[in-house]
C-alpha cells in the first residue's frame, strides 16, 4: 500500500510538472516519468501485460513521437510564447467542474469502503479476478483477445487502417494536377535548398 502512495505522489507531481514547464522538452521528460510510474502501478496490480505495454507503447513509441515532433518543429528548443492570461476567467468554472467530478468519484468510492474483496468475484479465464497472475496477466489477456474479444480485436485493426487512409487523404498534397502514380515530378526535390552547403572556396 505504501508503494501505491509513493507511485501516486510521483504520478501527480510529474503530471503537474508536465503541464507547468515552459520548455516542451522538459514537459516530455515529465511525461516520461509519469508513464513509467503508471507502468509500475500496473505491475503492483498484477497487470504485468498492461505494464509492459505501457512501457513499450507509451514510454517508447508515443514519447519518441513527441520528441520527433518537437525536434522537427524548430520552435521546440525555445520556450512557448505565453498568450494572454486566461486563468482568471476560467478559474471559477474549472474549479466547480473539478469539485463536482471529484465529488462524484468520492461518493462512488465511499459506497464500497476499502476492505476484502467480495466473496462472489467475477471470474476470468484463469481464475477469480483479484488473484495474482489472473486478471490482466499475459495469459488472461491473450485468451480474451482471441476468444470472447475476437470481434473487437478485428474491428480495432480496421479502425487503425481507416485512420491511416483518412490521414493520407486529408494530408495529400493539393497539387491541382496530380500525376498517376509512377510519373511524379522530380522537380521539387531538386528545387529544394541543399541542407549542407559546401563551404565557399
Amino acid at each position: 500500500m505504501s508503494l501505491f502512495y509513493l507511485l501516486a505522489v510521483i504520478l501527480i507531481a510529474s503530471a503537474i510538472f508536465t503541464i507547468t514547464q515552459k520548455s516542451p522538452v522538459y514537459s516530455v521528460v515529465g511525461l516520461l516519468v509519469n508513464f513509467l510510474a503508471l507502468a509500475a502501478l500496473y505491475f503492483t496490480l498484477n497487470a504485468e501485460f498492461l505494464g509492459v505495454i505501457q512501457i513499450v507503447i507509451y514510454s517508447g513509441a508515443i514519447l519518441m513521437l513527441f520528441v520527433f515532433v518537437i525536434a522537427l518543429l524548430s520552435s521546440g528548443v525555445g520556450p512557448f510564447r505565453a498568450g494572454p492570461n486566461r486563468l482568471p476567467r476560467i478559474a471559477a468554472p474549472a474549479l466547480l467542474t473539478t469539485l463536482v467530478a471529484f465529488g462524484f468519484l468520492i461518493f462512488g468510492i465511499a459506497q464500497r469502503p476499502f476492505g476484502p474483496l467480495p466473496p462472489h468475484r467475477p471470474t476470468s479465464f484463469l481464475g477469480n479476478v483479484g488473484d495474482p497472475n489472473v486478471f490482466g496477466s499475459v495469459g488472461d489477456f491473450g485468451v480474451a483477445l482471441f476468444t470472447v474479444q475476437l470481434l473487437p480485436f478485428e474491428v480495432t485493426a480496421f479502425i487503425l487502417m481507416v485512420a491511416v487512409i483518412g490521414v493520407v487523404l486529408i494530408a495529400g498534397d493539393a497539387v491541382p494536377q496530380p500525376t498517376l502514380g509512377r510519373h511524379r515530378p522530380q522537380k521539387r526535390a531538386a528545387e529544394r535548398e541543399p541542407i549542407l552547403k559546401a563551404p565557399a572556396p
Binding site: 479476478v129 476468444t147 474479444q149 473487437p152 481507416v162 483518412g166 487523404l169 502514380g181
Partner: protein
C-alpha cells in the same frame, strides 16, 4: 496452468457480421478501382461500387431476419432490431452517395466514398453491438471516418468544422468511455447483458450509466449537448452533412435503444432514464427555437435534426414496445424527408456555392417549379403536416407518450411542432414570394441525374409512409 480454451466461433458468427463486412470490403474495392480506372470513370465507378456493395449488404442482412443469432460470445447480435437499423444506415448511405457526384477533387473522390462507406460500417456495427466495447469501437469507426470527411472541402470553414467535430466528439467519447469503465467496474463485464446483474456498487453503476448516456446524447446531438451540430453541419461538405444527419443518429440511437430496452435492469429503469426524457424534451424546444433564426439551410436542418431526434427519443419514453416501433418508424420517416431536403439543396448547388443559403431559394418557385414543389413537400413533412410520413409519425409518438404516462412530453412535442412550422415556412415563403430585386440566377444544370433519383425516391417514400405507416413489429424480443 492450462486454460480451458473455448473458441466457439464458426461460420455462423462471421455470417452475422457479414453486412458490415461487405460494406467495409466494398470500400476497399472502391479504393482499388480508383487506382486502376481512368480519371473520367472514377466518380461514377466509386459511387456505383459503393451502391452495389450497400445493396448486397442489405440483401445479406435481410436473410437473417428470421434467424436471430448471438455472435462472438455476445459481442454482436444479428436479428430484427439490428437489421432494421442496418437497413436505415444502408438506405441513408445510398442516398448520400447519390448526392456525392460533385463532391471532393478528382484525386480524392475514391477515398472520400470509401470513408463514407467505412463510416456506414461503423454505424452498422453499432446497430448490432451488444457489448460496451463494440458500441465504442463502432462509434469510433463511424466518427473517425467522418472527421476526415468533414475536412475534405478546400474552404476554411470545412477545416474548422472538422477540428470542432474532432475535439468535441473526442470529449464525448471520453465521457462514454469513462462511463463504460465505471460500468465495467460495477458489473465486472463489458457485455450489455451483464448490466442486469446486481452491481458491486450501485453508485458506480448509476454514474456509469449517466456518463454513458451523456456520451451518446452528444452523438445524437440532443439539446444541452448540441452546440457543435450547427457549425459542423454548416462547414462540412453537403453530402457529408446529409450522411451525418442520419447515419450518426441511427447508430447512436441503436445503442441507446438497446441500452434502455434490453440492458438496463427493470428495477433501475425509471430513475436512470428520466434524464434522457428530459433531454429529449429540451431538444424539441431548443432545436425548433434555434431553427427560427437561421438563414443557412444546412444550419436550419441541423437545428431541425436536434428537434426531430428529440421526438424520436421521446417516443421511447416509458420504454414501451410500441414506443420502440414508433421511434424506428419516425427515424425512417425522418431519414426520407431530411435526405430529400438535402438532395434538393444538392441540385441547387453550383461550383463554389453549395446553394444552402436562403438567398439561393429566392424565387425558386418560378425558376424551377418542380424542385420548389418537392422542397415544400419535404418541409411540410419535417413540420409534421399531413399527408406525409412526418404527420403520421408524430401522431403515433403522441399516442404512445400519452399511453405510457408521459403526457408532458406530448404537450412539449406539440409546442415544438408549432414553433417549427414558422421556421420551415420561412424557406417556403422565400421560394414563392415575389420580391423586388430578386437576383436572376442562371438556370442550373446538375452534373448528374443521381440527386434527382434521390429526390424522387425520398418524395415517394415520404408520401408512401404517410399513407401506409409501416412499422416493423416483433422487434423487441430480438433486441436482447
Amino acid at each position: 496452468m492450462t486454460p480451458h480454451l473455448i473458441v466457439p466461433f464458426g461460420s455462423a458468427d462471421w455470417a452475422a457480421v457479414a453486412p458490415p463486412t461487405v460494406v467495409g470490403v466494398a470500400a476497399l474495392v472502391v479504393i482499388l478501382a480508383d487506382l486502376m480506372l481512368p480519371r473520367r470513370a472514377r466518380r461514377i465507378s466509386a459511387i456505383a461500387i459503393g451502391i452495389v456493395g450497400l445493396i448486397v449488404a442489405g440483401i445479406i442482412a435481410l436473410q437473417g431476419w428470421h434467424h436471430p443469432y448471438v455472435a462472438f460470445g455476445g459481442a454482436f447480435i444479428e436479428g430484427g432490431f439490428a437489421i432494421v437499423f442496418e437497413g436505415i444506415v444502408i438506405v441513408a448511405a445510398i442516398f448520400s452517395l447519390c448526392m456525392s457526384y460533385g463532391f471532393a477533387r478528382d484525386d480524392q473522390i475514391g477515398g472520400a466514398i470509401a470513408l463514407m462507406l467505412w463510416s456506414a460500417t461503423g454505424a452498422m456495427l453499432m446497430a448490432g453491438a451488444a457489448s460496451l466495447m463494440m458500441i465504442f469501437l463502432g462509434l469510433e469507426l463511424l466518427s473517425l471516418a467522418l472527421y476526415c470527411l468533414c475536412g475534405l472541402a478546400a474552404r476554411a470553414s470545412a477545416r474548422e468544422a472538422a477540428l470542432k467535430y474532432l475535439i468535441l466528439s473526442s470529449t464525448a467519447s471520453g465521457f462514454l468511455l469513462y462511463g463504460m469503465a465505471l460500468l465495467f467496474g460495477a458489473t465486472g463485464s463489458v457485455a450489455l447483458a451483464a448490466l442486469a446483474n446486481p452491481p458491486i456498487s450501485a453508485a458506480l453503476f448509476d454514474i456509469g450509466c449517466g456518463m454513458f448516456l451523456v456520451g451518446l446524447c452528444f452523438k445524437l446531438s440532443l439539446a444541452p449537448f448540441h452546440v457543435w451540430t450547427p457549425d459542423v453541419f454548416e462547414g462540412a461538405p453537403l453530402p457529408v452533412t446529409a450522411f451525418m444527419s442520419v447515419v450518426t443518429k441511427a447508430g447512436a440511437l441503436a445503442a441507446v435503444a438497446r441500452f434502455a430496452y434490453a440492458a438496463l435492469p427493470q428495477r433501475d429503469h425509471a430513475a436512470i432514464l428520466i434524464p434522457l426524457w428530459i433531454v429529449a424534451a429540451i431538444s424539441m424546444i431548443v432545436g425548433n427555437v434555434g431553427a427560427l433564426a437561421q438563414t443557412d439551410i444546412k444550419r436550419l436542418l441541423a437545428y431541425s435534426g436536434i428537434a426531430q431526434l428529440g421526438y424520436i427519443v421521446a417516443a421511447m419514453a416509458g420504454t414501451s414496445a410500441l414506443g420502440l416501433r414508433y421511434a424506428i418508424f419516425y427515424l425512417g420517416a425522418y431519414m426520407f424527408m431530411n435526405l430529400g431536403a438535402f438532395a434538393v439543396v444538392t441540385l441547387l448547388s453550383r461550383e463554389n456555392d453549395e446553394g444552402s443559403r436562403l438567398a439561393s431559394f429566392a424565387g425558386l418557385g418560378y425558376r424551377q417549379p418542380v424542385l420548389a414543389g418537392l422542397m415544400t413537400f419535404f418541409l411540410l413533412a419535417l413540420a409534421g403536416l399531413p399527408p406525409t410520413a412526418g404527420f403520421i409519425g408524430k401522431i403515433l409518438i403522441l399516442a404512445t407518450d400519452v399511453n405510457t404516462g408521459y403526457a408532458w412530453l406530448a404537450v412539449l412535442l406539440i409546442v415544438g411542432t408549432a414553433i417549427s412550422v414558422y421556421a420551415y415556412f420561412k424557406i417556403v415563403r422565400a421560394m414563392y414570394a415575389r420580391t423586388i430585386g430578386t437576383p436572376v440566377l442562371p438556370r442550373f444544370v446538375p452534373a448528374s441525374a443521381l440527386p434527382w433519383v434521390g429526390v424522387a425516391l425520398c418524395a415517394i417514400a415520404t408520401l408512401g409512409l404517410g399513407l401506409y405507416p409501416f412499422a416493423p413489429s416483433d422487434i423487441l424480443p430480438l433486441v436482447r
